[in-house]
C-alpha cells in the first residue's frame, strides 16, 4: 500500500504467495450469489445466502491498523436486511492526530459462498483516483462456537494485478457507532420517550418495543447514550421560554459535552417544549451553520403525552430528526439532494411525513400510512446509513443535503416510469480532448398517442433538468449551472413524432470544471415533468482522452481554467475579471488556430464581438461604458466556426443564427439570407 493510494501494493504489506494461496480458498461458481435487489424483501434476502444455522454470519464492521494507516471495513451480505455490498474508510494517524483519507464502496459485487469462505468482489467507487479499484473481501466461515473470523481485503488493478492487502479483525455487528447525548429542558411537562410498543396500534410491521437506540440498531447503527445528559434551564430560551434556532445552537455548544467543531460520530438531541414556529413544529435539525448536522431538537408541545398515539409520534419524531443529522432528506425531496436521487413520496420510512402519504383509507392518508409503516428506514436510506462515504454522513461532515443520497439511487434506473415521456441525453462525439468543451443535447419526446402536457425548459440553467455525472474516480456530482435562471410558464402539448430539444454546455458550473481529469465518465439527465414525475435519460458514456502530444497538453492547459470555463458558459465577456481567460483564448488562436479546439475560442470571441458590451463605470458620464458591437469581426469568427463542422448540431444552428444576425447588423442582408438558408436546409436535413 502507499499513503498516496491505499489500494496500491508495496512490498512491505503484501502477503507472501504461500499466505495468499492459503487464504484464497475460492471455488469458482460454487454458491455464486448474484448481487440481487435488496428491495425484494426479506424472503429474497434470506434465500441469497443460506448459511447453515450453526455458522456465524459475516456482516459487520472490521478494522485494520497498520502503522499510521487505519481501515474501517463494512461487510453487508447477511444478517438483517443485507444490502449486498461492502464499503470502507481509510484514516491516517500521525502522532495523536487522525485524519480522514478517503472512502470506497462496492455497490454491485458478486458474492460467492463456499463451504469454507464468503467472498465478495466487485469494482469499487472511490473518493480518490484508486490505482487498484477492484475490491475483493474474503471471510472464512466460522461456527457459532468459534470466534468471528477476520476479513481479508484485497485490491486489484483492472488488469488483475494485485494491489494492497489488509487483514481486518472483526469489531462489531454494527456498521457505524455513534454516541448520542439527550438533554431535556426544564419546562418539558411530559416524560421523555423511553420506548414504544409497535403493536399498540395498527402497523405494517411486527410488534416490538422500539426506542431510539433499538430503531437505529435495526438499521445497523449502534447508538451509545453518553453519561452527559443534562437538564437545561428554560431561561436559555429567553424570557418567553420559546426556542429559536439560534438559541438551540448556542445551547448545544454549551451543553453537548462532546461538541467540537469537527466531524465526529456524536450527536445531540434536545427534548424541549416550545419552538417559535409553534406547536405544529414537532422537531427540527437546527444545526445548519459551521460544522453542520451535530444537533437536533424535538418539541413536546406537539408530541408530548403518554397515550399510544403520542408515544408513536414521539418515537417517529425522535428518530426522524436524528435521520437528518445522518444527512437523510425527507422521502419526497430526494431529488433535491446533491447529487439528486429519485423522490419516494410513498416510502414507508422514518423520513416521510405520514400526512403526506399519497395513499389513503377511510380514515385518511396518515392513518393509512401508520397502518402500513413497519417502523424502519427504506432500503436506499439503509444503504446511506451503512455505506455512505464518510463525509456524506458523519455529523459535522458535508453540509446538509450534500451527498445525502449516495445510495443505490444515483444513476440507477427507475423501477417504474409511467410518465409517457422519453428523455435523452447525447453528445455529438463519444470522446473529447482534455479541456474540450462538452456540450450535451437534450431531447424530450412522448410515446403517449394522446399527447402529454410538458414544460419546455430543458436547459439545466432553468432548474427543471438535472444532470448527474459520475467521474472516473467514482465520485458522483450533480452539475450545477453558474447562473440559475428564474423561469415562467412555457408549456405545450407534446405528441408522438414531435421533439423538444436544447443543448447545454456543462463543462463548467458552480463547482468549477466538470471534466477535469482524463478517463471514462457516465452521465444521466433527469427531467422534472409537470405533475412531479422524474423522467430519467438512458446512461451516456463518454471519454476524456489523455493529451498525448505537447500541443494537446498545451491546449488542455489553455482551456482548463475557471475564467475560460466562465467565458464558455457565458459565450464571451469583456469583463476585466475574465481577462486571463480571454488572453488564453487569444493564445489558442495565435498558436493553435488550426486545431479543432480553436473553433470554441472563435465561438466565444465571435458571439461576444457581435453584441454591444456594457460595463458599469462610475467614472463615465452615464455611469456605463458601452463597447459597441463589432459585426464584421464577429461574422469573420463565426463563419469559420460554422464551416468547421466541429460543433454539435444544436450549437451549430445557434452559430448560424448568430451569424445571420451580425451579418444583417453589419449591413450585409444578402449574406444573412444565405446563412439563414443554410440553417433552414440543415434543419430540414438534420437528424430529429
Amino acid at each position: 500500500m502507499s499513503s498516496a493510494d491505499p489500494t496500491a501494493a508495496d512490498d512491505r504489506d503484501n502477503l507472501s504467495l504461500e499466505e495468499m494461496d492459503g487464504a484464497m480458498v475460492l471455488a469458482d461458481g460454487v454458491g455464486q450469489v448474484p448481487s440481487g435487489d435488496p428491495s425484494q424483501g426479506d424472503e429474497a434476502d434470506g434465500a441469497a445466502i443460506s448459511l447453515p444455522s450453526l455458522v456465524r454470519p459475516v456482516s459487520g464492521r472490521y478494522r485494520n491498523t497498520t502503522g499510521g494507516l487505519q481501515l474501517e471495513l463494512r461487510v453487508d451480505v447477511d444478517r438483517a436486511r443485507p444490502m449486498k455490498r461492502v464499503s470502507g474508510d481509510f484514516y491516517f494517524t500521525s502522532g495523536s492526530t487522525t485524519s480522514y483519507f478517503g472512502s470506497f464502496a462496492v455497490n454491485s459485487p458478486s458474492i460467492t459462498v463456499t463451504v469454507t469462505d464468503v467472498t465478495i468482489k466487485g469494482l469499487g467507487s472511490f473518493t480518490w483516483a484508486a490505482g487498484a479499484p477492484v475490491v475483493q473481501v474474503t471471510i472464512p466461515r466460522r461456527t457459532i462456537f468459534q470466534p468471528q473470523a477476520p476479513a481479508t481485503l484485497r485490491f486489484f488493478q483492472t488488469n488483475g494485478s494485485p494491489g494492497a492487502v489488509y487483514v481486518c479483525t472483526f469489531e462489531s455487528i454494527y456498521f457505524r457507532t455513534v454516541r448520542i447525548e439527550t438533554d431535556r429542558v426544564s419546562d418539558v411537562s411530559t416524560p421523555i420517550l423511553a420506548s414504544y410498543n409497535t403493536g399498540s396500534l395498527p402497523s405494517g410491521g411486527s410488534a416490538r418495543n422500539l426506542s431510539v437506540v433499538s430503531a437505529y440498531a435495526e438499521a445497523g447503527i449502534q447508538m451509545i447514550p453518553t453519561a452527559g445528559s443534562d437538564v437545561i434551564n428554560v431561561g436559555e430560551a429567553g424570557g418567553n421560554s420559546i426556542w429559536s434556532n439560534a438559541e438551540l445552537h448556542a445551547s448545544m455548544q454549551q451543553h453537548f459535552t462532546l461538541w467540537k467543531d469537527l466531524p465526529q460520530w456524536a450527536v445531540w438531541q434536545l427534548v424541549a417544549q416550545n419552538h417559535e414556529f409553534g406547536s405544529g413544529l414537532y422537531g427540527i435539525m437546527f444545526d445548519q451553520q459551521g460544522k453542520q448536522r451535530q444537533g437536533c431538537a424535538v418539541f413536546h408541545a406537539g408530541i408530548g403525552g403518554t397515550t399510544a398515539d403520542k408515544l408513536r409520534l414521539q418515537l417517529y419524531t425522535y428518530v426522524h430528526e436524528l435521520g437528518h443529522c445522518f444527512n437523510l432528506l425527507h422521502s419526497w425531496q430526494k431529488s433535491l439532494a446533491n447529487p439528486p436521487a429519485l423522490n419516494r413520496p410513498a416510502a414507508l420510512s422514518w423520513m416521510n411525513y405520514p400526512w403526506y402519504y399519497p395513499f389513503g383509507n377511510s380514515s385518511g392518508n396518515a392513518a393509512a400510512y401508520w397502518a402500513s409503516f413497519p417502523f424502519q428506514f427504506d432500503n436506499e436510506e439503509i444503504v446511506h446509513l451503512r455505506h455512505a462515504f464518510y463525509n456524506n454522513i458523519v455529523m459535522g461532515g458535508n453540509n446538509f443535503i450534500v451527498g445525502s443520497a449516495l445510495g443505490r439511487d444515483v444513476l440507477a434506473d427507475s423501477i417504474r416510469d409511467d410518465s409517457g415521456l422519453t428523455f435523452t441525453i447525447s453528445t455529438h462525439q463519444r470522446s473529447f480532448a482534455l479541456g474540450e468543451p462538452v456540450v450535451v443535447e437534450l431531447a424530450l419526446s412522448t410515446y403517449d398517442p394522446r399527447g402529454r402536457r410538458v414544460h419546455k425548459w430543458l436547459h439545466p440553467n432553468c432548474g427543471l433538468v438535472k444532470i448527474v455525472v459520475e467521474k472516473p474516480s467514482g465520485e458522483v456530482v450533480g452539475y450545477e449551472p453558474v447562473i440559475d435562471h428564474l423561469v415562467g410558464e412555457n408549456e405545450t402539448i407534446l405528441y408522438p413524432g414531435e421533439q423538444i430539444t436544447d443543448s447545454a454546455y456543462i463543462g463548467f458550473g458552480k463547482e468549477g470544471l466538470t471534466f477535469d481529469q482524463p478517463g471514462n465518465y457516465r452521465l444521466r439527465a433527469v427531467y422534472a415533468a409537470l405533475g412531479g414525475s422524474q423522467v430519467l435519460s438512458e446512461m451516456l458514456d463518454l471519454r476524456v482522452r489523455y493529451p498525448v502530444t505537447a500541443a494537446a497538453e498545451e491546449l488542455a492547459d489553455l482551456f482548463m481554467g475557471d475564467e475560460q470555463g466562465t467565458l464558455l458558459y457565458l459565450l464571451g465577456s469583456d469583463h476585466e475579471s475574465l481577462r486571463r481567460g480571454n488572453d488564453a483564448f487569444d493564445l489558442v488562436l495565435d498558436k493553435h488556430g488550426k486545431s479543432d479546439l480553436a473553433q470554441y475560442a472563435r465561438l466565444v470571441k465571435g458571439v461576444n464581438a457581435g453584441r454591444a458590451f456594457k460595463t458599469v463605470d462610475r467614472d463615465a458620464s452615464a455611469g456605463v461604458t458601452v463597447r459597441p458591437a463589432q459585426p464584421e469581426e464577429s461574422a469573420s469568427l463565426l463563419s469559420a466556426v460554422a464551416s468547421s463542422g466541429v460543433l454539435d448540431r444544436v450549437s451549430n444552428e445557434m452559430v448560424l443564427t448568430q451569424l445571420a444576425a451580425v451579418q444583417s447588423l453589419g449591413g450585409n442582408p444578402e449574406a444573412a439570407a444565405t446563412t439563414l438558408g443554410k440553417l433552414s436546409a440543415k434543419k430540414t436535413r438534420g437528424p430529429k
Binding site: 414556529f277 414537532y282 435539525m285 445548519q288 426522524h320 425531496q333 428564474l486 423561469v487
Partner: protein, 97 residues
Amino acid sequence: MRLNVKLRDGFLNDTVIATVNGKEVFQKAGVQTDLSLSFADGFEIEVEDPEVELGVAVAGGPRATRKVRLAETPFVEVSKNAGDLEIRASAEEVPMM
C-alpha cells in the same frame, strides 16, 4: 377568523407576494425552503369574510389563486413544484418535522 399560510417546498431565494381578495398582505424577498423542515416562511392574518380568495405569486415566476373557506380549512400550504405553485387548504395545521 384567522387564515394561516405556510410556504413549504420548492422555494429558492424567491420573492413571494400574497394577496387576500386582491389586497396585498405579504411580500418577502429571499424566501428559501429549509429542507430539514420543508418550510420557507409563513404568515397569519385576521379576515372577516367566511370565504376569501388567496393569491400567491413568485416574482417573475408562477402564480396561483384559490378560494379558502375559513370555517372549514383555515390552514393553507403553498408549495412550488416543477415551476408551478400548488395551494392546499386543510382543516388542521399540517405538522412539520
